[in-house]
Symmetry: C2
Subunit: 208 residues, 2 copies
DNA sequence: CTCGATAGTGACTGACTAATCACTCATCCA
DNA sequence: TGGATGAGTGATTAGTCAGTCACTATCGAG
């Protein structure tokens, strides 16, 4: 095996990436460190040399997840066609929908929510939502109410993807999933109309 | 010990109740059958006589959870002061907020979402959301969009409670939690103004 | 009172897992 | 060249947990 050695600093982010994939699959308690190690193609002993504990490994993965989420929201701001607060928020939603098309980052957040009782994980989760909320708020300039709705529909998006009802034709499923773009695996080509995104069906509840 | 024996049929719902409490605390994988047994004050061996597996026990708890959710939405319909679709939906939201003030039913749903990869649990979760969505839709007569928003803000409510930011005064936290009633433990006396509930701050996004 | 059925338990097992440790091997600099 | 440093691993440990089994206690019917 002509396996080139790399430095621990080079290896760590690779392990984080493996951890995101593995933890996204079966959650914090349902995933073993050996699973992560296998995903990263190293021994589990070495995972413990790179990270002090399973808990810290998960926290590292979660932090990295929110790095990418915030980064993606930033891209949304840049490419926004409208400069109104709600237009920017909408573009952020589109960028976010693209990001989580692969489901790993989405499921990791869902699983993290189920592990809040672990102190460090709860703290990391709050940190993440703080970053997202503050970023969305300050960079869009939207009202608190609009930002709140932005996050609420983000949560709905998580639910729809978690339940796997994106493609269902059942009435209740289409009610929940309406306007939520389904994960088209073919990434890279999101050119099919990029208006109307974060809050599905525009402003649906124009009534009240 | 003058412990009266009860029938298995009497005991089962008590164990379900204990399971709701225990699983709500630490989730599906983080909770042992012994934890549930201790909560129910019986041996873990007997839990396995009442339920074929941990998985089926969790499914039973989840089904019971949605029984109570739907029942609570029904109460919301009954006591609605307005008869408009959105008025009814609003009253449903208020009833739901009351129901989940104790957090157990809420956290169970969050934990269930993190265990969707277990086939039976995923099915039970879909079943539950189907019941809730269809009930809300047919009994309120609201538009699909309004029902979708109802569920979306329900999910936001779950997030806020999970993060434990109901009482936080940080700006980002109040943005997310605005209008979401915090769990006033003193149940039974929800007389302090019962208007404006499910969708916080009335129709916040009147702008868009 | 007796007997069959059912409520209920202690003790066990086989599989699994977070974390540790002693170890090997590659790399790099003096 | 040689030795120090750091990359990376196999084997082990101490503990946990879902599920089983043999068993006792209680109850109700005749």
């Amino acid at each position: 095996m002509a396996t080139k050695l790399s430095t621990a600093e080079e290896r760590r982010p690779l392990v984080i990436a493996a951890a995101i994939t593995a933890f996204a699959r079966t959650g914090y308690r349902g995933t073993t460190v050996a699973d992560v190690a296998a995903e990263a193609r190293i021994s589990s002993a070495y995972v413990f040399k790179l990270f002090p504990s399973k808990e810290q490994l998960f926290v590292g993965a979660l932090d990295a997840c929110y790095d990418r989420v915030v980064e993606s929201l930033g891209h949304g701001v840049e490419r926004a066609t409208s400069t109104t607060p709600d237009g920017i928020l909408d573009s952020m939603g589109g960028a976010y929908a693209e990001l989580i098309a692969d489901r790993d980052l989405l499921m990791l957040q869902v699983h993290a929510q189920s592990a809040v009782e672990v102190p460090e994980i709860g703290a990391a989760l709050r940190r993440g939502y703080q970053r997202v909320t503050e970023f969305a708020s300050t960079r869009s300039g939207a009202t608190d109410a609009a930002v709140q709705r932005f996050i609420a529909f983000g949560q709905l998006c998580h639910l729809v993807a978690t339940l796997g009802i994106d493609d269902s034709t059942a009435a209740w499923a289409t009610t929940l999933a309406a306007g939520i773009r389904h994960p088209d695996f073919a990434a890279g080509a999101p050119d099919s109309g990029d208006s109307a995104s974060s809050s599905p069906r525009a402003d649906a509840g124009s009534v009240a």
